[in-house]
Assembly symmetry: C2
Homo-oligomer: 430 residues x 2
């Protein structure tokens, strides 16, 4: 690994604090990811990318900016990557998955706020995130109250363009959202000094669709039983998909899928116990938040699918590629993103239906609901998810947690109890 300290210093990072952060990651990665047995060889690329998470990828972004490109940071799956790509920008996901500078963040934010938001501000205040410091623009969205209001504060520290996401999916909402997509185009054009043209947008739609198709192909391979890839490795790939170069990532995911198909056909699995098959559903898990999947998979179960923004919600829908002109493409993009079934929508029947569909398609034995403490949309919607699963007699476990490790023991006990219950075929829920 090269020495990136000069680069980090130039980005304005607090080098001592940042070195401290980087020391924590490798042992965590070892415990959660590298310690898994019989991983596919294709994971080596992702291990490498992760080992260079604050190094080589940042250098690429720095080089990109030096050659006139822009970098745009996002916090949510609702922000159209295609638009950023079409102005020659690089898109990086900025959601933060570790407790950093919590006390400093609580000078700005209430204590009872979700860990993801506090972590985001913590990384900014502590100057330990080279991604946010590389951004020419941050793009927020009015998804949940916490983020919506947090962006106003963040905007005091760095420019934030906030997209207004509607809260329902009727025609009036679609009109508003299509306008929002155009408002983002205008802002990106202003920042980048480049106009979005038809050819560039068509190309961007294709590139991001290819990424989604590769991730969908990988998702499909998670139906294999015995499994050919672990839930943790799949999560890691999804997390990396938010910040890696999309063309390269697509190629690497497809190469991995080739290998996984060989494994499947050759009867090679990841080994170990792989029952029950768990659907993880709920809030996103940003790097390096592997706590719950690690608990599940080291307790003998398999995370067979993730119904979350760092899972299938990110890549489930493609942008329709038939549109003839720029306006048609912008509408197709808007429509695709409006399909996402985040709990911020009301009503949000699509999500309940999708969960049922995943339970069937992935031969799911139990659903574990991952709720970040204080995340109202997902914690309140949990009730309806549970109702739905009760109807279908699918065991359901609700875990409310944050980024601390204090509750590891308690979570482990509850997950193990679920696994035991499923294995002994008790049909009750809890």
């Amino acid at each position: 690994m090269s020495d990136y300290h000069a680069m980090w210093e130039k980005l304005g990072l607090d080098l001592a604090a940042h070195d401290g952060l980087l020391e924590v990651l490798p042992p965590l990665y070892q415990d959660c990811i590298l310690s898994q047995e019989n991983r596919p060889e294709g994971m080596q690329y992702f291990d490498f990318v992760f080992s260079e998470v604050h190094g080589l990828r940042i250098k690429e972004l720095v080089d990109h900016r030096a050659s006139g490109g822009i970098v745009v940071g996002t916090f949510c799956t609702y922000v159209p990557e295609e638009l950023i790509l079409a102005v020659g920008g690089a898109c990086v996901g900025l959601c933060a998955g570790a407790q950093v500078a919590e006390e400093a963040a609580e000078q700005y934010l209430p204590r009872n706020l979700c860990a993801l938001i506090k972590s985001s501000l913590g990384f900014k205040l502590a100057k330990v995130c080279p991604y946010i410091e590389s951004c020419d623009l941050l793009v927020g969205e009015t998804t949940c109250d916490g983020k919506k209001k947090y962006y106003e504060i963040l905007n005091q520290l760095q420019p934030v363009h906030t997209m207004e996401l509607p809260q329902r999916k009727d025609e009036a909402d679609r009109r508003l959202w299509r306008e929002e997509v155009r408002r983002l185009v205008a802002r990106l054009e202003e920042i980048s000094g480049r106009k979005i043209d038809e050819a560039a947008l068509r190309d961007a739609i294709r590139v991001i669709n290819e990424k989604r198709k590769a991730l969908l192909r990988l998702a499909g391979l998670r139906k294999c039983d015995p499994p050919v890839i672990s839930g943790r490795d799949a999560l890691l790939i999804n997390q990396i998909a938010f910040y890696d170069d999309p063309v390269r990532l697509t190629e690497k995911v497809n190469a991995l899928c080739d290998e996984l198909e060989e494994r499947r056909d050759g009867g090679i699995s990841i080994g170990g116990a792989h029952r029950p098959r768990i659907l993880l559903s709920g809030c996103p898990m940003a790097i390096p938040n592997w706590k719950v999947p690690t608990i599940i998979e080291t307790s003998g179960a398999l995370v067979a699918m993730d119904e979350m923004c760092t899972g299938i919600r990110y890549f489930r829908h493609l942008v329709e590629e038939g549109a003839g002109d720029l306006e048609g493409m912008l509408d197709a993009i808007a429509d695709r993103y409006l399909k996402i079934d985040c709990a911020v929508f009301t009503p949000n029947r699509e999500r309940l239906d999708h969960i049922s569909e995943l339970v069937r398609d992935y031969d799911i034995d139990a659903v574990i609901y991952y709720a970040l403490q204080f995340c109202d949309p997902y914690t309140v919607e949990a009730f309806q998810v549970q109702q739905e699963l009760e109807k279908e007699r699918v065991p359901f476990l609700y875990l409310e947690t944050d980024y601390s490790s204090e509750d590891m023991g308690q979570l482990t006990t509850r997950v193990q109890a679920l696994i035991e219950m499923v294995e002994t075929q008790k049909p009750s829920v809890f």
Copy 2:
């Protein structure tokens, strides 16, 4: 007081639980409201209305329904009362201000959710709210995440029509909101079997504007120093304004204002210490939530104004009365409600400006920010309010609380420290 048990039973209340609730209210009312010295005589009407909160007013609603009218329940200042009035409906505010059936509510809702929402469901589940049981329709709104998602659950128990409130105030938002107003009209017409016509709507606009003017007149009289009315009495009137008959309430508020003007001119004040003058800002205080104002006023200060939904935010703006036809009136109504500066909007500069204006107009010595625990919009926006007040060197105290009485001691200590600080003219904030 008549015996209303037969009426309550018919409404489906749990009589034993309801009797228990009613036993708690009089001593609380005595401590918080009646124990005040030198109250205006005009408060007798409001004392009477409160003493009949589950009695005579409910009987009026029952009679109203018996004669073919509908009753519509609301949870928020964004729901246009005029429309309900124009279909011959009675509008009642349903926000709940007491801990009721919390454990039962937590079977449906996460523990870490604001007290107002849990209380609302608690009242419903425990069958102790004759208002919600009198409603032909509940009208929700997509203000905060918690309520938005809660309405989906409540809708399983009783029909809820949810209005989509936009999150910004641009032209696209105005269009969407104007459509939402029309969508509510359609639903109200369907439920009531009555079409809204021009004459009825014009009359309704006038009636509700008159209520607002009376409340504004009362608000203006709170500028008097020495004060002619307490903050607690003003709050009580605002709370009652959400469920009382609007024409009668207007008449009684105006009669009270006549008396207060006489007091002012005659140099008669409510007596006792009346400094510092406090602006209470933040979340709404539903009946019987008088905890914080009581702490403030029994500690020697005066709540001179309430920048909250149970305060001036409820009646600050009038509907423009110039519109010639039905469509024009509906637009005027939509536009009026979109002016409300709830923290759910982003950005929400208007609120910061309004707070500064109130600080000047009401000769405010300190701002106490009342935050319901877990209320993300108001708890996060508090930071910017504090920033704004720091610029103007106005002392600021942030109180985060819920509906329990456990923190009374701690809150009292903090309020007393603020008062002491203001009285000794220290210019710092905390």
